[in-house]
Each structure stands twice: as C-alpha cells, then as structure tokens.
Symmetry: C2
Subunit: 387 residues, 2 copies
C-alpha cells in the first residue's frame, strides 16, 4: 500500500426531497449567490423553481448564469468570473451535472485571483484560493460534486485541460435521485460509463497489498453494473437511480484510490475525442476503455484476472490467465453494448483520420498512464484498436 | 434506500512517516495545544518524541494531559476541560487510540460551553460548539479518528454514554501503520472485532435496495478478516497493519451505513460489560455479537444468508436458509476463536450474575436495535446466549 492523503469535506444531503435543505445550508452563511446552470432542462423538471424558492427563503440575492454546455467552455467561465467579481458574489451554486459543476469550480477559482484563469489549467499558476462552490446535482456521472477536479475546454485551440486541488471540492452537494428519473437514456448510460471509468482508473493498478480498496472498487463496479441493467429495464426505478447516483460520488471523491497508484491514461486519450468532435465524455470513455484494456492487460494479468473473476464470475478452470483476462474485457464490452453505448469510433460515427494529432495532444506533457506507461505510439495504437 | 446526510471532513494523512506532516498542519492555525494521551506507551514507541518535535517545529505552546484509560473516564475529561479553559488552548491533539480520542472529543465539547459536560451525555444539553480535535492514531479500532461520536464512562455510577455530532469529527488524523506494529496481540484483535462491529451495526439491516453499501460492507469485512489472519501469522506485516488501520477509519465514518437503517443494539448490550467489569470494548463485542446474531437472525434470513455466502463462501445447495444463516454465524464465531478472542462470558471470566441489572441499563432509554427491536427480556436472553 502506498502512502496517501484523503480529504473529502463535501457535505452530502441525499434522497427524495433533499433540496428542501438548501435554505438552511445557505442562510446566514452566504448573501450573494451565482446560480450556474446548463441548457435549461432544470427549468422544465422543476429544479430551477425549487432552487429559487429555497434561495429566496434563505434571503440571498441571486445572480444567474446559464448556458453551460457539455465539455464546458472557457469563454463562459470567463464571463462567470467577471459576473462574480463585479457583484461580490460569495457562493457559486452549480445546478446540473458535471459540466455545470466543473464550470462553477473554474469560476470559483478565477474569481479569487487576478491572474488569468487559463494559466491555472496550463500549470503556470498555483492554486491558492477559490470561492466556495455548492451543488444541486441533477445528472450523476462525473463525481464532480465531491471531487477536487475541474476540466475545461478552450474552444480557441480545442485544448481540454484540468485543474485538481482540494480547495475545489464543493462545500455541499444536494442529491435527489428523483431529479434523475427524467434523464434520457443516452445521458443515463454515458453517465454510467463515466462512473465506471473513475473506478477503473484507480482499480487497474500495479500497486500490491490494497485489499480494502480492491474490494471497494469491485463492490462499486458490481453495484453500478447491476443497477445499470435495472435502469435499462425500468428508467423509473428510483432505487436504481439512487444506487447510480451514490456510486458516482464515491467513484471519484478519492476513496476508491486510497493507497493505490492510479492511471488516467484512458481519460487523456478519450478527452481528445471530446475536444475535437464534442463527443459526450462517457461515450468517448466507452470507446477508449475497451481498447485500452486490450492494449495493456498483459502488463498486469493478475488485476485483469481479478476483474474477470470477481466482477463477471468468469469460470477460469483450464484457462490461461491471458484467456481469462480477455474474457473479462469481452464481458465488459458486451455490458456496454447491452446498455446501448457505442464501443468503437465507427459505431459512434467519429472520423478516424486525426489519430496522430490526438496522440500528440494526449502526450503533450510526456508519456501517460501508470499500469502501462504509454507514449505517443502507444496512444496511436489504442486509437487504432478503437476503430 | 433511505435518505441520508453524510459529512466526513477529517483530513487523513496515511502511511509510513506521515507524522512529519504534523507541523505544517498545525503551524499558523493553532497556537496552544493540549497533548492528550494514555498510559505512556507513546513514550516507549517514539510517537511522543516525534509528536513533540513536530509541535516544536510548528512553534506552538504545548500542554500535556496523559492518563487516559480504556473506557475513558469522566473525571479525566473534567480535568482536561479545566486545563483547556484556564490556558486558552485552541487545539486538542489526541495521540493514541479510541479512548484517548473520545476523551479529547469530550474535552473539546466541554471546553466550548459553560454547561456541565455530563449533561450532554445525558441528552439534557444540545451540542452547539466544540474546539477542534486533531489525532495521531496509534491503535486502529474505534474509528473515532473520523467519527462523530465519543463514549465516556462516568465512574461514579458505571454509566457509559455517548454523544454524537458532526462537530466532534476530528479536523485531521495522522495514521502511520508502523506505530501499530508493536501493538500486543490482545489489543490488535480486540481492535479487529471493534472494526468489524462497526460494519456489522450497519450491514445487518432490514433496509432494502442498498447494493452499493451492501458491497462496501462485505468488501470491508472480507478485507479485515483476511488481514487479521495475516497479522495472526505475522504481527510485523506492515501491509496487513495498514489494511486494518484504513478499514477501521472507514468502518465508522458513516460511509458503510449510507442509506441504511443501522442497529447498535449489540453495542449497547456490550457497553454494560465494559462499564461493569471494565472489559476491553472489542472483547465485549466478541462475546455479544455472536449471541446477538443467534438471537435475531430469523428476523432477516436474507441478510444473514448474504453474510454467509458472500463473506464465508458457505455452500448453500440443499440447505435451508436458516441452516445457511447459522453456518455463517458459526464461521464468524470460529474466526473470532482462531484470532484468539473469547466468545463467551465464561471464557472471558466475566461474572454471570448481573444480567438483569445490565439489561436495565441497556434499555434505560427504551427498546434498542432495529433489525430486531429488543426489549429488556430480549437483552437478558442475549446475555444468557453469551454465557
């Protein structure tokens, strides 16, 4: 087991009706709130009205900035920073999914500095302060509601970069699974893949003697797969929605990776698809992860055997470790297909003529990954495996 | 799944050498620190010297209060409160195990009020404020390093009572498994039972549709059992010590119980043994839990079957659910015996003539438990099953 730090201070209010806690959380602590949201779905499903009502009860002045898109844009972040600075806003309330929360975190960071926000993503500036961010979560996927990270796309140069710092962890997250009952199928299952990917980046590790987190990761993966199938059958299953929502948070607050070397190569490889073709993050991951698995599994047959045996109950008698590992990967890919996600570039209608450029971008800061350290050539091979 | 709140803000620094982080954590934030500890083992294993060195580097003034005993006493808490108030101390640093941390929490609570500290344990006063508590953990067991609870024994009337509030969660916990390598066998395995008990109180629940925490609990239980066996073979196994230590924290910070109705009857029943006979907490639990299981399992055969199948891989074909459940309980009791814990009152040389008095105390505030709600008669029956 490796040494680690763990800090996950986000206060979570989970369950049906939990938005009714918002006013007591906010009241007396904050006075000027930026309500940050996406394309307006929260105005249709009632979340906007409920939130406004709670903020009114709390007696705060509300400023609004909607329009966050998937793969949130730097330009809107800049607009938010100006708005926050000009109005002495003291809480950024993200109402939506991961894109809205990531955008809110970037605004919170940029509003607490005189430096240019993009310099933090380029690593030119060190994170020192940020305004508090609160969350009303409506799409479980990125885990951003309790994570330390924000990923922003600079639409001028198609760069998709991240900042990670404990100070960016939201102060509170209100999570009512009933908001997610109306999520369309594509968003639901892209979210499922996103959640699984956060566990995978930690689970597929060369670190030995990590039983506790091995078991935690495997349990979380099994829970997500089981409940994804439930949602495929019945999108209105509250308990399955709740299971996916809770798994999403703990998949990415750091818990699953305690004491482990994590990987993140697949994320970097997938990010380039989203940056270039605006592919939904979870879809990019559904395409890249099986390819990455097939490319790297020989590096650590043990962990890929555990995955096959403990998640998919592959019968292993008389089979080579390699065979068992591959069957596990196949079962996983077949799970993705069953819930309706594309697992190749072709299926997703993504062009296959920019592998070199994407590999350049993915390895811009050097080789990536940990289970197998990948250089530019490796990344090109993974894109090819994903064709 | 039930609605829930979750708040676990304790910053954890885990691993070999992690005490070296203490000075940067403390420096500039606190100026007058109460170093609170137990019987002096920390002076033998070097932790005291290391801690003092770090506090010196941090430039804080240190006050000392040692002498915390297992089942920590109200009288020492009162002494600590006076010391803190008279010296304007701003951080209580608990160096030791659960008893020291619980004592520190009670001091932190009492020092922030003019009311009598015991009134908080009697439920006469509401928790509103507490000084910050930091932890250097040397005995993994109670999970108090990240939990919301403190349990104190009033030696005047043998009452052992608790206060639970988020404000009592420690600010930080430094956890270096190397400190635990020298723990004697009895303390090590009493700690193991304590950790398991915290998971059991959450796992054995009637709440349905809680896959995520079912899996988490089962993973944590399997990890603790596996690594307890490793420590039985080799007490110097750093990784096994680390696995037990990490499980101890997450067994009791609330994570394992998210969305579940928890129980806590066994704790109340076991507490009376510790209060009357000063039995080590983990030993009391090793005696009471198998008896409780045997008394209640018919109430929820499903969860006891999951326990038998998923933890102990009991072969269930051709067996009744009742048989499978009982075999799981037997396997668990046999595990306790293998790691050297007594599982009956007789084995532990505890008198068996105060069952009525203990049952009175356990049910002082009414019936207890949730999986099966227990009255005074039930509690007497459980003591009898534990004879």
């Amino acid at each position: 087991m490796k040494n680690f730090s763990f800090y996950s201070p986000t206060m979570i209010k989970f369950g049906q009706g939990s938005i009714s806690k918002l006013n007591t959380i906010v009241m007396g602590k904050y006075s000027r709130v930026l309500l940050h949201y996406g394309g307006g779905s929260i105005k249709k499903n009632g979340v906007y009205d409920e939130t406004m009502e709670e903020l009114e009860k709390a007696g705060v002045k509300v400023f609004e900035l909607g329009g966050v898109k998937p793969n949130p844009r730097l330009s809107l972040v800049r607009e938010g920073i100006k708005l926050v600075k000009n109005n002495n806003i003291d809480l950024i309330l993200a109402v939506g999914g991961g894109s809205v929360i990531d955008s809110a975190k970037a605004i919170a960071l940029g509003a607490a500095t005189e430096e240019d926000i993009w310099d933090y993503f380029l690593g030119k500036e060190k994170v020192r302060a940020a305004l508090p961010v609160g969350v009303v979560l409506t799409i479980p996927a990125t885990g951003s509601e309790a994570s330390m990270g924000t990923v922003i796309t600079n639409e001028e140069n198609s760069l998709k970069l991240s900042v990670n710092h404990d100070i960016l962890r939201p102060i509170f997250a209100i999570m009512d699974p009933t908001y997610t009952l109306s999520l369309p199928e594509d968003q639901t299952f892209a979210g499922v893949m996103d959640i699984l990917s956060h566990i995978f980046e930690r689970y597929f590790s060369n670190t030995l003697n990590v039983d506790f987190t091995d078991y935690l990761c495997e349990g979380a993966i099994k829970s997500v797969i089981k409940n994804a199938y439930s949602l495929k059958k019945d999108p209105n299953d509250y308990n399955a929605r709740a299971e996916i929502m809770i798994a999403g948070t703990f998949a990415h607050n750091g818990l699953m990776g305690l004491g482990r070397q994590d990987d993140w190569a697949s994320h970097l490889i997938a990010h380039q698809l989203s940056a270039l073709y605006d592919t939904t993050h979870g879809v990019s991951l559904a395409i890249i992860f099986p390819a990455w698995m097939k490319y790297v599994y020989r590096e650590n047959l043990d962990i890929f055997n555990k995955f096959a045996l403990n998640i998919f109950n592959i019968a292993d008698s008389g089979k080579s470790k390699e065979r068992v590992a591959l069957e596990g990967i196949e079962k996983f890919q077949s799970f993705l297909e069953k819930i309706g996600l594309p697992t190749t570039l072709k299926e997703a209608n993504i062009p296959r003529d920019e592998f070199y450029r994407m590999a350049d971008l993915a390895t811009m800061q050097g080789s990536i990954g940990a289970l197998k350290v990948l250089n530019r050539e490796d990344v090109i091979n993974i894109y090819k495996l994903a064709e």
